[in-house]
Every structure is written in C-alpha cells, then in structure tokens.
Symmetry: D3
C-alpha cells in the first residue's frame, strides 16, 4: 500500500551519492575484475530488521550499470530475521562491486529508520489509536526516503515541510503577542487546506489554543500527568500531540493518557544503521 518516493526526488540524491564514490572511477575493480566477469550477490540482513529501500537499492545499481538485474525478494515493511535474503543483484561483477557501498549506505539507513519506527510502534499498548510520527529532524537530502522508511516501519509522518501545515512555536507566539493572536493570523493567512497546529507549554495556553480553534495542539515537554489532564480538558476539540524528549519507555504511558500523536525526533535524527551485508555467491 505504501507509495515509494518519486524517482524525481530519489534520483537526485542517488546521483550525488554516486558522484561522491565513483567520480574518479574504481581503481580496484579496474585492476582486478575482468570486464566480462559476472556475479550474483544477495543483500542479507545480519540482524532482525524491518526491511526498507528495495527500490533505491535497484535504482542505485541501475544507475551504475543499466544491465544489472535486481530481484526484490522481500517487500519493504516486512520484519525479517538475521540471515534473510532481502534483494538479489546479478550481472556484470564490475557494476555490482562499484555500486555496493552506495547501495548499502542507503538501505542500511532506510532499514535502520524503519526498524526504529517499528520499535516505537510496538511500544504502544495493544489496540492503541495513538500514532507515532517523525518530525522534520531528517538527514539533509534524505527526507523523502526517511519519511518513507517511517511509514514502512508502521509509524506515520508529521508535516513534510514548512509549507504543508502551520506549526506555531514559541518564537511565533512571542512575535504575535500570544497564542490567540498567532492562531488568528495563521487561520487568516494559511490555505484553507492547511491545519493549524500550535505548541503550548501550559494548560492555560492549551485552553487558549482550543478556544482559538487550533486543529492540533502540541504539548511540549509535559509530564504524562499533565498530558492526561490536557486530554481530559480538550475532550476531542483538537488533536493532541505529545512531543519533546520522548523515549521508548514513555510511549506506553503517553498513549494510555490518551494523546492522539506522539512525535519522535529520534525516529530519524540518530538512527543506528541496520546491519545489512552483500554476500556474493
């Protein structure tokens, strides 16, 4: 069901990554691998992972050597154990060796993000309607890929960029002279298709945001107890999002407090790369 990032976006960062590694050729491959040599190699998970990045894996190799054939054995979003073959590439050995590192650099990060997202999703209580989402703390150049990985891991995306929704933060509030004024200005200026989200630090601010008609209220760095109180006071008038210093440990209690969304920078900003290797037959 997932929609992969558009090739229009993906091809630009792939080109950049390949230029980084291949602009000066590959001295070792030129010396050691005959032009006609062929090989088959499998990307294999070395740990349990939520798979992500099959199309990027394929596009990287296709850009290096158009004749390579890629077989996506496992679909993005599946949870697999160590030793699982994820994707197979077969054809000219030179092309496989030249694209190997760049392809792995992409999919290890994407799979890392998907796996991380799954961890947070699984920390939710069974049947919970609370969402785990990313925020805009993505790696420069990789936003579309990381947001896709978040979805592949079963979590959700927050707004994509500064132009797709309003998110009023402390500096905006200060500049406008208060929560209400900021929301009123945003409502007047933003497209009718854009939701208005407002960050609040206190329950007093929450009340103002609700009465001013915020669609979403971001509860910034609040204790679970205060969050629970916020949920009670809000009574469905707006979506409530908990954010700021969310750890895996707090996910369950926040969800149980009834918050709609838990947004987690750590889904993308500090993700351990998944251990995926390329094994030659």
């Amino acid at each position: 069901m997932l929609l992969e990032p558009s090739s229009v976006v993906v091809d630009r960062i792939i080109a950049l990554a390949l230029e980084e590694d291949l602009a000066s050729g590959d001295l070792t491959t030129e010396a050691c691998i005959d032009e006609g040599a062929r090989a088959v190699a499998h990307a294999v998970a070395r740990q349990p992972v939520v798979v992500c990045g099959g199309s990027v894996f394929a596009r990287v190799f296709a850009r290096v050597e158009a004749s390579l054939e890629i077989d996506r054995v496992v679909a993005d979003g599946e949870l697999v154990g160590p030793g699982t073959k994820l994707w197979t590439v077969r054809g000219k050995a030179r092309g496989i060796l030249m694209g190997e590192r760049v392809a792995l650099n992409f999919v290890q990060r994407m799979t890392g993000v998907a796996t991380q997202a799954r961890r947070y999703v699984e920390a939710l209580p069974a049947g919970s309607k609370t969402r785990i989402t990313d925020i805009r703390k993505t790696t420069p150049g990789l936003r579309a890929l990381e947001r896709y990985a978040v979805r592949a891991g079963g979590a959700h995306n927050h707004r994509d960029d500064l132009g797709s929704a309003v998110l009023i933060k402390d500096n905006h509030i200060a500049a406008c002279g208060g929560v209400r004024a900021a929301i009123v200005r945003a409502r007047a200026a933003a497209p009718h298709t854009a939701k208005i989200e407002c960050e609040v630090d206190t329950l007093e601010q929450l009340e103002i945001a609700l009465s001013a008609g915020a669609d979403i209220v971001l509860l910034d760095n609040m204790s679970t107890q205060v969050v629970a109180e916020a949920v009670k006071r809000t009574a469905g008038r707006a979506l409530l999002e908990a954010s700021g210093g969310i750890t895996l440990a707090r996910v369950k209690e926040l969800a149980e407090a009834g918050v709609d969304v838990i947004s987690v920078g750590a889904l993308t900003h500090s993700v351990p790369a998944a251990d995926i290797g390329l094994d030659f037959e």
Copy 2:
C-alpha cells in the same frame, strides 16, 4: 589548520536540503512574523560536544537570506560543555526561522560525528601513534561533511572514494585467484600515486600480501592476539589496519598491539546527532 569542504560540494547538498524544507514556503512565518522583524539567535550546545559545522551553519542561513550575519563564536574541533554558545545569527527574523531546522539538521549530525570521533581518539593509550579512521560508510550526500567532521574530532580519514586508493577485498581476491595476483594486477594498473591496500583474513594471507608489496594490509575481524602477531611478523614492511566490528572497548588493546590504523565504520554510519538548540534572545 583544518580545511573545510569546498563550497562547490557543500552548496549542492545545502540546496537540496533547503528545497526539501522550503520549496513551498513557510506558512507559519508568513502568517506570524512581520517582514521587518529582527532577531538574534544562538546555537547552543545542550551537552558536551566537539563542535563542527560553523561554515555550513553560515552558508545555510546565507542561502535563505543573504543579509543575515553569522558570528562563529567557537571554532570547529573545540570541545565545549553544555550551555556553550557556538554560533550566533542575527538579522531578519523570518530568515532565521526559515533556516533554523535545516541548519540544525546539518550541524547536529556533523557535531555528532566529531564528538563520536573524539571518543574513539580518546580511547587510545596516551601518546599512541595509532590512528582512528573512518571508512566509506558515510551518509549519501554528506561524505565531504562527515569526513571533515571526523578530522575535526581528531581522527583521520580513510580513502575518500573508489578512485583514490586501491583496496583489495575478498571478492577481488577471489576473482584474481589469490592475494598475490590481485596485488600484482593492482600495482600494474593503478596510478603510481595510489597506495595498494589488501584485506586479509589470515596470517598466511598477510605474509603473501607483504611479499607482494602491499603498502597497507587490512586485518579483517582478527582477535587482538592475532593482530599482535601480525604486527610482529610485518615488522614495519607495511602499514597495518585493523577493521571489522571495532568497539570503543577494543581500541586500547588494538593500539597496544601495535596496529597503525584502526578503521571504524561507526564513526559515521550510526552516529547520534548532537543536541544543539537555537535559542532566541
């Protein structure tokens, strides 16, 4: 003394990152911040870090709004404590708010890498001549920035790309029919300015690599004991590099075993972003 990555390289990834966040404008800033409003904001470390990314910080904001002034308070490579002001940006509030997230996304990663590199360097015994280096497991699009961050952290770089040195791995050896043949072919084909490095799994392979004239031998996934034996047998005939599953805990013993280089993928592939915030005056 460090040389910052060339703006020719840096500006491309900055442009990509800004397009990701700003291509559709900034709804909140348009609504809430007056065109003439001015502000001063400080990037502040929230934890102990080795600072890295001042010029990228400056270039991001300059690209968003050319009139912003940047003050680099702390130089790249310095170790600072939490609360330290690293860089200051002053000028049009709209520009500062619009560039904030992208600028932070860059410097949090760069400073994270520099800080990580410092950890490994500090794990070396006092006075050790052993080097800590990165490998090519860098984030797609960010290689030049991450390699710079590694140097800012006091570690060293491995080869930059597939064209700047020969590194013969298992698949190359298999394709050539052995270590000796691979090294001979590489010596014949590669520029005389390129060193020949060869990966070995055993001491027998090490002997062959040395006798074939390898400039560097990569000891792949060897125990410290075997590494020590390799150092003894090599007796300075080549540089020795330990690689594969290096943890912070093993750095000291490997250095004491006398290896010249310890190469660490974890310098760049799974780095926690440094906690740096932007505080408005």
Copy 3:
C-alpha cells in the same frame, strides 16, 4: 506581510529562463553598446495592475550583471494606474538590455496573475468571508511564483502539491468503492497534519462525506441553488469549496450562498500578461 518565494526555488527557474535567452550571448548588444555605457530604466505599468514580481525582477538583473542597482518603487500587491513606475534598474547598459526581456517575461505573468486574482476578490460581496483560491493548474516551473502572485492579488492558495493535503476525486472514490471508504482510508494513511478534502457531485455524497468526517468538501460543478442547499445541510461541519467552471460573474452569488471557498483554475491557467514596459531615461 507576504513571504516571497524562496530564492532556492526562484533561482532555478531564473537560471533556466536566462539560459534560454542568453546562452549564445547577445549579438546586438555586443555590436551596438559600448562596454562602459550606463543607463537607467524604469519598469512602467501601461494599464491598471496589481503589482507583483519585484524580487524576481531584481534577481534576474543581478544574475545577468551583479553590479546593477535595483530600486523597488512600488511594493508587491499594490494596485496602481497606467504610467506608474514600478521598479528602476540602473548601471551598465549592456546588462540592462540583456536582462530586459527575461525580467519582463516573469513580471508580466506574475503581475497578470495578481491582477486577475484581484478581479475575483473584488467580485465578492463587501465584507464577505468567502475565499477565492487558486488550484494546481499552474504553469510548469512557475508554481511558487504564481501562488505568490495569487496572494499578492489578495486571494488565497489551495494546497501546494500532492503531498500537502488529501483531495479525494472521482477516480479515488471509484477505486475505493465509495466516498466513505475513501475518506476512512485517507484518514488512516495521511499525516495527522493533513486535512482531508473530498469532491462530491451530489448532496447525497455530501452527507456521506460529512458523516465520514471530511474536513473540506468540494462541491463540483453545482448550481448556486444546490450550493446554497449544501451550505444549509452542512451547517459548519466542514469547509465547503465550490469549484468547476467558476466565472467572474458567479462569484458574488456563490459567496452569498455561503460557501467558504471558491477555487478558480483561471487564476493561473489562462492569465493575460500584464502590460509592463521598460522605459529608458
């Protein structure tokens, strides 16, 4: 108050436009204008217009010849009469002549859009809360500029792109088996920051969309009478948007029928260029 399109976006289309006109130099200027000649020229409205494009005008000339000085006499969004000087460029005559056509090609279109938008806005009844908005029928490559021009004309923007809000149309409804199923799927998949808009052809569909929780309902090609009935039935449960074949003549009656938004492809898809000339002193 308006926020101009980011230079990151604008500079790409400016570069493309200048390559179209200047890649082979300017034969006439090389032959007829001395290198040291200087000039002053004024962009002048030849008809009543809502001004738009000052920063693009400036950036085009700056890209052609960095030393040119630009004076923005009239701010974007102002309504001026024929003969009004809008912007002045002074400096090397060669640069002014070389950039003239490209600069005018941009601002005539942008000012045309702003002027067109103003016409629709003025067709609203006095004090009306109904919004006039564009849709995605923009000129390829100029979307950010045209959306800005729409705002400069006093109208509003619809969603920027396919990723910033959900808009369920007939084909989506057919694929999902109905309005309700489509809205449910969209709610489940889309970010919580994205509004769900659904197009409907009948009042029956409207009822379903409302009960399924659509944030916005697009009333497609409905008579004013049916629109009025839709407004009555909706009773504020969702924003209502009238779209499809909107003419200037129908704006007033649709607004009086109480619709929240009137979206108009003609704001951007067929706009007469504003008559702006460049007069040399």
Copy 4:
C-alpha cells in the same frame, strides 16, 4: 515534418514541474489506490483545438512511472473537434493519477498556443505569403515548447534568442547615434550567418535602414497605410516585418498591404489554456 524540442531541453522543465507537484509524494493516491491497480485514461479535447504536446505528455508519464504505455492517437498540429481522444495512457493507476495534473498543465498550454497560432494564420487572406511569427515573449522555462507549438499551429518562429540574430531596437539606435551606424556596427561584429534586423518608427528611418543594408526591417506600430507605403518603397530590398499591437483583426489588412512577416507577442504571452481533460475508462 515538425521537429520536436530536444529531450535535453524538455527533460529539465519536466523535472522541475514534477518536483513542484510530487516532491512530497501523493497522499491521496497512497491512501486510496492499491499498488497493483491498473487503469486506462484518455486525454480528450473539450473544445476545438490544434493538438500539441504528445511527446511531452508521454515523457511526463514516463518520468513518473516508467512502465506506463502511451498511445499518441492524434499527431501534433492536427485540428480536432471537442470529444476527440488525443492520447491514451495505460498501466499502473497510481502513476497515471500522479502524473495527470503536470501532464495536463503542459499540454493545455502547448495546445493553447498552437490553437492561438492557427487563429492568426487563418486570419491571413487565402494564399497569402505573409508569415505569422512569435516573438521572445515566451513563458520562462517553456520557450522551446512554445516555439514548437507555434509551428504546430502553422505559424513561424522569430529568432530564438539574443544570440541567433541581430535585432536593433530604439535603445541600440540611440546608443550608436543613428540607424546607419547601428547597422554598420552590427554587420561588422555579428557572425556572417546572422541576419541584421532593424526596428524603425518612420519611413525616413526605413530608407536609411535599407540603404545601410538591413536584411529585415521591423515596422514598429505603424498604421496599415504607412506599412503599405513601406512595402512600396522597399521593393523587395529587405524583408518587412510588422509588429506592435497586432490584433487578429488587423492581420488581413497588413498581409494585403504586402508585409512579409507579422510578429505577434500574443501568440505566447497571454494564451488561454486549451480545455483538455483526462477521462478514465
């Protein structure tokens, strides 16, 4: 017989247009359309048009989803009535829905230009040798496409850019001190392959331009009577081009006055988009 614009040029603006619409994905399609769903859709004229843009239509969809099949039912340049199927796209429904708007935005403009050009061509007297041409008032980024559309409509192109022919205008004349001096300088400096065209305001200037050897004289904003006199005096010594405020109504009389070329900014600068829809089977 027409030569379509080179893909080298076309692909850049297509990429830009797709980035505008698809950089953040397509929320609605991801939610509502299954990955495996297939569809067939026909681009259909909703009014009489001169068809233009088949290859751009195909390239847009190919860039979104390489596996889509395009059938160009009607060739560019044909005049068709409302209801005519122009092009068919079949394959993955997701790809068709994602590319629809961008593809239509291109072809509606191109077909609009071709249709507009045909109107002017048909206003010529039967058997007339007079040409209708565009000028450089094209949409930034779309020049090659619009010039092609002009030819598809049966009209001709003027010079492509500032480097492909000399066109001396009032400011050049003033800078050189007169028509003769300007032509002499241009003849000396320009490639021998470039024609020299000179704009004149009076019959006196025309005489000077002719005696100085202009290849083409542009009669700027002259009455039909004066144009006829200019034709008589020129007696074939140069091509004569009427320009400035040309309306459809004046085309016939200007052609009958014997002018060789009528150049019309309105072929490209204010063209109503053709009404073309995409109907799904």
Copy 5:
C-alpha cells in the same frame, strides 16, 4: 567592445571543473598551508600570446574563496610578450593554491584559442575584408568560452548552434533530392531571421544554390583556382565561405581569391594551450 560569455553559462562549466579537482578537498594545502596565510600571485605569459579569459580566471577563484581579490592587468584581446603579468590574485593562500590549476586550465585554453585565431587573422592580406571564422568543432562544454576567445583573437564566429542558422550539407541535399529542393524547403521552414547557407562541391551546384536564393554558399574543399572562379560567377549574389582543410598557408591566397569567409575548424579543435604560469610573490 567584446561581450563576455554570460555567467549563467560560464558558472556551470566552472562548477563542473572545480568538482573534478576539489570534490575531495586538497590534502597538500590542508597539511602545509596555515589557514591564515596570505599570498599574492600573478598569472604570467611565458610566450607571446593574445590574452583571453580574465573574467573566467576571476570567477574560478571567487568560487573557491569568495574573499580573493583579482586584478585584471591586461584586457582580453591584447597581444603581449613573454613575462607579461596578465592578472593578479591576492588573499588567502589556501584559496589561491586550490584554484590555481583549474583557473590555468581554463585560461591556457582560451588564450591558446585567441592566439591561434590571431595567427589566422594575421595571415590575411593587409586590408582584406575576408573573415576568419570558427566552426562548431568546439570542446564539449566550452563552446561559449571558445567562441569568445575566437573573437578576442580578432576572428569571427560562425553559427553558434544547430538552431541559429541553416547549413545544408551533403546528407541534407541527398535526402531532399538536390540543392534546389533543400534550399526551398529550408526557406519555407526556417525563421525569416535565419540565413540559409548551402554547402556545394562543384560550380554547378553553386549556380543552383545561387539561383535558389542561398544567402551563403559554402565552398567545400575547393582549390583556390575554383574558389576564384566561384567568386567571379557569384558576383555578390551571396556570401561565399571557403571551408575544409584550411591551413595557415592557404589563407592569403583564398582571401585574394575574393572569398568572404574562411572557416577554420583548427581555431578550436586542436589548439595548443598557451603557456601561462602562476608566479607567487
């Protein structure tokens, strides 16, 4: 009087050239040159040359290090002797050393072309009206720079590209069934601003081309004697261009035979780089 190539064009090839040399940094400069070190260096001709490339020299260094100051001591197009200082760069030593090779690679080629062009121009008889021109045999990526250098050397340009004039060659003639048909088709299809040039192999073809109204006739690989006869027969009805295997030695006799243009691929396709060094104070 010369018009330098537009920065829009120049900056793209400069960026490409700098990426080739600097994408991985400058190991030597980082190690050996202190960050604060300053220097002054002069580009000096080591042989007699016609100077060309001052603005490219300046733009390369500006792109490497914006703070460098450039002084253009000698203007493009001047003939200078060995030892002449052409341009001076002063500022950060690191920037100068990093940009040196790329800057020289550009100006050595441009100055080489200008010097070569001057040689051909000087081979003309005194007072000759015959032009020396380049053709499209330019270095990929450097066309605008090389054409400019040709002009700086005192020669002229041929058509810039396939879209700026018609040049009918043997394959076009064969496809059309003859010279006359080809010219007629070209006249009908090409813009009225484009000259029609036709290549001929024989005097018979020349007569046909003239009677068909060719603006320029290219005399392909003809002996000087036949060229003289062609001049006589043409009697000013068209420009005559001699081309094909032109050596410096034949320039004088061809000019004396009365041909209007001598086009010389060797102006750009095999030019010895001028010997220009960068001397540090």
Copy 6:
C-alpha cells in the same frame, strides 16, 4: 580491461554539450529530413589512431534519440589505420544528424589523447618499466574522459585530483620552511592511504625528501644527467618522477636514466583532435 568513466560523470558533460548545440533545435534537419527517414552512418578514422570513446559516442546518440542502435566495431585502445570503421549508428536519420557534431567533438578529442599517449609510450625503450603519465592539465569538464583516454593509449594516470594524493610543490615547501617540514606535516595530516609526493629542484632537496620518507619524488625540470644521478642516489627508496618540459625526444633517455615515471602535461593540454569522420551509407 579498462574501466570506462562512470555514466554518472559522463552524462553531465554530455548533457552540457548537447545543450550547447541543440537547445534551439536543428533548423536544417527539421526542414530537410523527413520524420520517418532512416540512415546508417559509420565513424571512420581518417588517419592512424588509437581508438577511444565508443561508449561516449553511444551515449551521445542515445541521449539525442533513444531508439538509435550503436555498434562498436573496434574496441577502445586498439591501433587502427586510416579508413577503419570504428563505430556504426543506425536508425532515424534526424537523430543521427542532430547528434553527429557533438559525438565527433567528444571522440576526436578522446582518440586524439589516446593516440598522443601511445606516441609517448612507444618512445620508451623496449621492455622499459618506466611509466608515462598525465598530470592535472586536463580540459575543464573532461577530466575523467581524458584520463580514460590516457589509459586507452597505454599510458598511466597521475593523481586524479587534489584530494587523492599529496603533491608538495615549491609554494608548499616555502610555506612550511623546507622540504622536511612539509613532508612531516603532510604525513601527519593526510590519510594513511595517500602517498606523499614531493617536488624537488636539486639533489640536496632529493636527499632530504628521501630521508623524510617521501613515497615519490618529483624531479622538476632536471637534465637527464642529474636525473640519472638522482636515480643512483635514491636506490629504490622512493619512486622517482621526471616532470617539466618533457618532449617526445627526451622520453627514451629519461627512461634509460632509470626514472620510474615520466609525467607529461602534453598528453592532455594541447592534443590535436584525431581526424574521425561520420560517413553515411
């Protein structure tokens, strides 16, 4: 055995070259060649050459017209006599004619470089182990292609760019205060994978460089006699490279003097284009 330059690099300069020639279309082809016309054309050597550029030839035509078929008759690196068919292109005549000039501009230069390289290689004494190499005096934008051509000609490459090896020159030595200090600083700062080369002017400097552990010493502009003495003194402690004003005539004596490498700027900086034509069947 040769590894062709990566398409990631090659496609950028091909795009630039095609934009130079085809951005405005091809007036002659549009007029004279029917859309359906087909042709077969052979690239034929007109002189003895070492062939180079087959894949670039193919990629240029593929970019112009994807349906063209290319047959590489002769492999890169082969020496062939005049009249030899190198590559064949067949398909739409329009595409062949439109790509012809750009394709030839590439391969004439590449084959010229390969042929030039072969000349230097053949000047070596039989069985010599001395290498001929290029240096960084390559054409801007064409470095990867020219370095490949050097290899195709049987010579070798020097370092690719400023980041792939250290080369200490006079200015670096002066800045560091001497040869030894420069080498020590370079050793400390550069990656362990990078060789340290140092330029010397005298035998005294050579001794210092050797004792400081330089991997390669560049003997700058030394007489053959001094070079021979340098070889003797070095006794294998480092590679020795002769450079500066190398002519074909001196290659033999320098090789006999025992130098390891002779680096020759003339391999790329002033290469006569090979005479290759495109003959249509």
